[in-house]
């Protein structure tokens, strides 16, 4: 045994007594310079862009990617030269006289070159990282659209292990060089072989079409360390497969080298051992991924979206009972990066189709799809017309409903209940069992069935608008199945009551003040130069006394009707600075103040088919089973009084939805409740001026959660492509790191 150590020590003496090795190691510092230089070029481009454009940059990561192949090449060259230079000078004969066992001579070099590769690899990895991060400075933490940051500093999870693995792989690189050197024997031949392995093949992989190119690239030597250590690497391999490959590279090379020696010495045992090890290691990446075994059959259906169907019990209390079929949609992962799982997008409404969202807003998910399949569905309560709509209820049933008026006394309240019940029963008759199971908890159980069918252990969520209600129900019912949950512009799950209504009134009042300010500042506003608040309050007051007719339509708007019709436009001005809906609203108000509500009627009718806002039964089916309620006549009186106290411009507006549930025939099955404080991962809520505070309520009890406040109008920030918000959300979905408390996003400054 001591003899083996003597030979290893002799190889160390050989290595350190050659000055050329020192020069070569010094040359490896080129890798550090390269990392710094490329990063500096990125920074120069980055600084010249607007903050919004910067979001589209590709991450520099830990700063190793450009320098690493160079570092590995130098270390591999050291390994190769340790053999090939002996052949070139003839010293191999002297070495073999000193150590006649050829195999021992080769493998005594292994610990020496591996040790040097390890030490130099670590030094270079940390050097490249430090250089790149120094060049990036504070920009390193800037978030990008794909959820990464421009740089990844040591404080980020996975970076330190990544550097350690990348450095340690220097040992593997040196051993690959040693094996190639022993196999090829000539220095030039060995260096060319290494250039092919470390530069030519990876370069060739990059020009292959997607996703084949990135997949092939995943198998390249320099791309393996990241796939071993990084939680969301660029490559497609799992950490174990990548580790096996990283070991396989030197094993194959050394087997080749040992084989060349064995064939000369006419001994075949090392050859057989190496071949066996190579085959075993090669099998590991080939093993089928155990990630998911889906029971679903997907087929192309709309554009990029793939579709599948799943049968679920109509009544989850009777799982063996009657089944209904729900339709699923999927934007598959791009296959260029390691797949981390499924992001489930829960659509709003209630009644929106998530498949439609994937089709219309697929671009919002483009970056997320590097690591995730994005799956959604047309929930059981979908009301959007189209192929996804369940045929149990007629379109008329889903898309129409009564006009709601504020009842002024107990008798009017009872009459409202009668009207509501009669309208509901018309629809319920078609399928009472289905009608009684349209609550968001049933929707959440459907999502759980989808999860099981997908074969995913956990799901990540993007829930938009009313989709946050089934999301909250899912978090409550299946907390252990939640990997991450991002809720955007939705219902906070606070029981309908004074607190909830205060928040909403405060929100719409602030937004109305913004509308008024905009009109003062905007010459094209129809009310420009007038006191908008005064005009509005006079209009509402006079309409409450005497409704304002829609000329030629036989309908008239009460003050309440005006509020209900105006509120969506106040909340959503449309793209700024054009603000088309604010222009439209100002014109409608001006016209109504002059005695004609036609301006309101025309845009309301365009959206709803009715000249006055209608309370859709399809929406109420879910609202009412989710426990939306004014709390009886007394509760209604209290809430109405509250509105009149706190909301000079929109008093009563927040009663419109809950009043539709007075007298509803189906049972409340999913009363409002925020997710529990235990058993859930940190969650993230995002919202605009008008929906942030309500949404924030949903995550307030879940430890570690935070919110993103968008300083602007809007609703459904992720789906509508708000890039700053998407960057934060993607970062959370990718890394499970919620944004810092107090995070805000601002609308991008308009281009000059």
């Amino acid at each position: 045994m001591s003899r083996v150590f003597d030979v290893i020590a002799a190889e160390w003496e050989k290595f350190r007594s050659l000055r050329s090795n020192g020069w070569l190691l010094l040359a490896s510092l080129l890798a550090v310079g390269l990392s710094a230089g490329v990063t500096a070029m990125v920074v120069r481009g980055y600084d010249n862009q607007t903050p919004d454009e910067r979001l589209s940059f590709s991450s520099v990561g830990d700063g190793l990617s450009t320098g690493l192949p160079v570092a590995y090449f130098v270390l591999a060259a050291l390994g190769a030269l340790s053999v090939s230079s002996e052949h070139a000078t003839g010293m191999i004969r002297t070495s073999l006289v000193a150590v006649p066992r050829r195999g021992l001579l080769l493998f005594a070099k292994a610990p020496v070159v591996a040790g040097i590769g390890l030490a130099a690899g670590l030094a270079l990895a940390f050097g490249m990282h430090a250089a790149a991060m120094a060049v990036l400075g504070g920009r390193a933490d800037d978030r990008l659209l794909d959820g990464t940051t421009l740089g990844t500093t040591l404080s980020q999870p996975g970076v330190l292990p990544g550097l350690l693995v990348a450095g340690a792989a220097g040992a593997a690189a040196a051993l690959v060089g040693l094996g190639v050197g022993a196999l090829v024997r000539s220095t030039a031949g060995a260096l060319v072989t290494l250039i092919v392995i470390l530069f030519v093949l990876p370069g060739a992989a990059q020009v292959l079409p997607r996703p084949l190119g990135p997949r092939v690239g995943s198998f390249m030597f320099e791309n393996l360390p990241e796939q071993i250590a990084h939680p969301h690497p660029e490559g497609v391999l799992g950490p174990i497969a990548a580790l096996a490959l990283l070991i396989a590279y030197p094993v194959v090379a050394l087997t080749g080298g040992a084989a060349a020696i064995a064939l000369r010495g006419r001994r075949f045992r090392p050859l057989a051992v190496g071949l066996a090890a190579t085959v075993l290691l090669a099998l590991v990446p080939a093993l089928p991924s155990s990630a998911s075994t889906s029971a679903l059959t997907w087929s192309k259906c709309r554009g990029e979206v793939e579709c599948a169907t799943l049968a679920v019990p109509v009544d989850w209390a009777r799982p063996q009972g009657r089944k209904i079929t729900i339709r699923l949609g999927r934007l598959p992962a791009t296959g260029t990066h390691r797949r981390l799982g499924v992001v489930f997008s829960i659509p709003g409404g209630p009644g929106g189709s998530g498949i439609g969202d994937l089709e219309k807003h697929g671009a919002s998910f483009a970056e997320l799809r590097r690591h995730f399949d994005v799956v959604s569905f047309a929930p059981r309560n979908v009301t959007d017309d189209g192929p996804d709509r369940p045929r149990a209820f007629s379109l008329d049933c889903l898309k129409t409903g009564p006009w709601i008026e504020l009842p002024d006394d107990r008798a009017e309240f009872a009459a409202l209940g009668e009207r509501n019940r009669a309208a509901a029963e018309q629809c319920r008759r078609a399928d009472p069992e289905y009608f009684d199971n349209l609550d968001s908890a049933s929707v959440a159980r459907d999502i759980e069935a989808v999860r099981a069918a997908l074969g995913e252990a956990r799901l990540s969520f993007v829930a938009t608008s009313y989709g946050t209600v089934p999301a909250a129900a899912y978090a409550r019912l299946f907390p252990g199945r939640v990997r991450a949950m991002y809720v955007d512009g939705g219902d906070g799950g606070r029981p309908e009551g004074e607190a909830e209504q205060r928040v909403r009134y405060a929100s719409i009042e602030r937004q109305f003040a913004r509308f008024a300010a905009w009109c003062r500042a905007t010459t094209t506003c129809a009310l420009h130069g007038r006191d908008v608040v005064r005009v509005w309050q006079d209009l509402v007051a006079s309409a409450d006394r005497s409704p304002v007719p829609v000329r030629g339509r036989g309908v008239a708007y009460s003050g309440f009707d005006f509020k209900v019709a105006a509120a969506p436009s106040v909340v959503s001005p449309g793209p700024m600075p054009q603000a088309p809906r604010w222009h439209e609203l100002a014109a409608a108000i001006a016209k109504a103040a002059a005695g004609d509500a036609a301006g309101f009627a025309s845009y309301v009718e365009a959206v709803t088919g009715s000249p006055k806002p209608m309370s859709f039964r399809g929406m109420n089916m879910t609202h009412c089973q989710d426990g939306l309620s004014v709390g009886g006549y007394e509760g209604y009186r209290r809430l109405r009084a509250l509105g009149e106290k706190v909301s000079p411009n929109f008093a009563g507006n927040e009663l419109w939805h809950p009043l539709a549930c007075v007298g509803w025939p189906a049972p409340v099955k999913n009363p409002p409740a925020a997710p529990p404080s235990r058993g859930l991962p940190p969650m993230v809520a995002a919202g605009s001026w008008t929906d942030h505070d309500d949404t924030a309520y949903l995550v307030r009890n879940v430890p570690g959660s935070s919110t993103i406040r968008y300083d602007g109008s809007g609703h459904g920030l992720y789906l509508s492509g708000e890039r700053c918000t998407i960057a934060h959300a993607n970062r959370y979905l990718l890394t499970l790191t919620p944004p810092a408390p107090g995070t805000t996003c601002a609308p991008p400054a308009p281009k000059p």
């Binding site: 001591s2 003899r3 003597d6 030979v7 020590a9 002799a10 190889e11 003496e13 050989k14 007594s17 050659l18 000055r19 050329s20 230079s85 002996e86 000078t89 003839g90 010293m91 191999i92 004969r93 002297t94 070495s95 073999l96 006289v97 000193a98 150590v99 006649p100 066992r101 010495g265 006419r266």
Partner: protein, 339 residues
């Protein structure tokens, strides 16, 4: 002790070494002789395990070299002084060699001193002359203080002073009781150094004998010129001498017929070369006389009354003996072969 037993090495169809057997014993300098290409270096590489034999084996103290534990302590070898990396210093080169065989680093300075390279110890080998490289190679061979030493053409590139130094080194190593095998293609060099010679040609053993035995195998004669060669020849023959008429232009003595026998009989013999001297038809003026020394020839001539014109004892040179021995086996002779 080095034993070569039935060693056969082929390169394709050609046999570089063909069923070669010999033993190198301790306490002697054994010369390993043969013309260039005879298979000396190939045999030495086989002894060191650098090449695998096709048949037979080569043993060092009864064991193949490759199986020796720390082999440089058992056998020191200088094959090619150029088998070094020019980027290292002499000392660094010896240091890794010492380390590889568990030899104390103190030996490095000792052997550098012994070969006279101490002043150049810290210089890079790339700047060494061939002679300095030979000394470095010898230093490497001596590093493990081995009982067996093997040198392939060690005097190549050495100046006369260096050559003498090598000679003395070989002799002193043998005097220390070591086994010393030295190859050369120069018989004259070996004559001054070797106690024993192994001669090979075309990979086959030609002679394995002591230096004295080799010389004895090629006896001397006496060249005689006389006024009446025929009468003198008769008189000499009557006194038991062997007399051969010699043509005037043939100055070389013929090799003896005694001694050398067929190779492979293991009795330490050399193969005879056939007498090539044609018998002069005119009786000639000169006689080559054997089995009788000059003094006795003079006495016989006086008794026979023949006047002598010349009486010259002739000794065969080792070089000539070597040429005779290996004449047939020269692979790349200067003269054109049967073309």
């Amino acid at each position: 002790m080095i034993e070569v037993i039935g060693l056969t090495m082929r390169y394709g169809e050609a046999r570089a070494v063909d069923d070669l057997s010999f033993t190198v014993r301790p306490g002697l300098v054994t010369g390993f002789l043969g013309p260039n290409g005879a298979g000396k270096s190939t045999t030495m590489r086989a002894v060191l395990g650098l090449e695998a034999p096709d048949a037979g084996e080569a043993l060092v103290d009864g064991v193949p070299y490759a199986r020796l534990d720390r082999p440089m302590r058992r056998l020191g070898a200088l094959l090619d002084a150029g088998d070094v990396h020019g980027g290292r210093t002499a000392e660094a080169h010896l240091r890794w060699l010492a380390r590889s065989n568990g030899i104390s680093a103190l030996r490095v300075a000792e052997v550098l001193d012994r070969v006279g390279l101490t002043p150049a110890a810290q210089r890079r080998i790339a700047g060494f002359s061939l002679g300095m490289r030979q000394r470095l190679g010898i230093a490497a061979a001596l590093l493990g203080d081995p009982p067996v030493l093997m040198f392939d053409e060690p005097v190549n590139g050495l100046d006369p002073e260096g050559v003498r130094w090598i000679r003395e080194l070989m002799r002193s190593l043998a005097a220390e009781g070591r086994t010393v095998l030295v190859s050369s293609h120069l018989m004259a060099e070996m004559a001054l150094t070797a106690d024993h010679v192994v001669v090979i040609g075309r990979g086959r053993l030609i002679a394995d004998t002591s230096m004295a035995g080799l010389v004895a195998g090629f006896r001397s004669d006496v060249l005689v010129r006389a006024a009446d060669p025929a009468r003198l020849a008769a008189a000499l023959r009557a006194h038991g001498a062997t007399v051969t008429p010699v043509q005037e232009d043939d100055a070389a003595p013929g090799p003896g017929t005694a001694g050398p026998a067929a190779p492979g009989d293991g009795s330490g013999t050399a193969r005879p070369a056939a007498p090539a001297t044609p018998y002069g038809s005119d009786g000639g003026a000169a006689l080559a006389v054997r089995d009788m020394d000059a003094r006795r020839i003079g006495e016989v001539a006086l008794a026979a009354g023949v006047a002598l014109r010349e009486l010259r004892p002739r000794a065969v040179s080792l070089e000539e003996a070597f040429m005779e021995l290996t004449g047939e086996s020269v692979e790349f002779g200067a003269a054109g072969s049967a073309a």
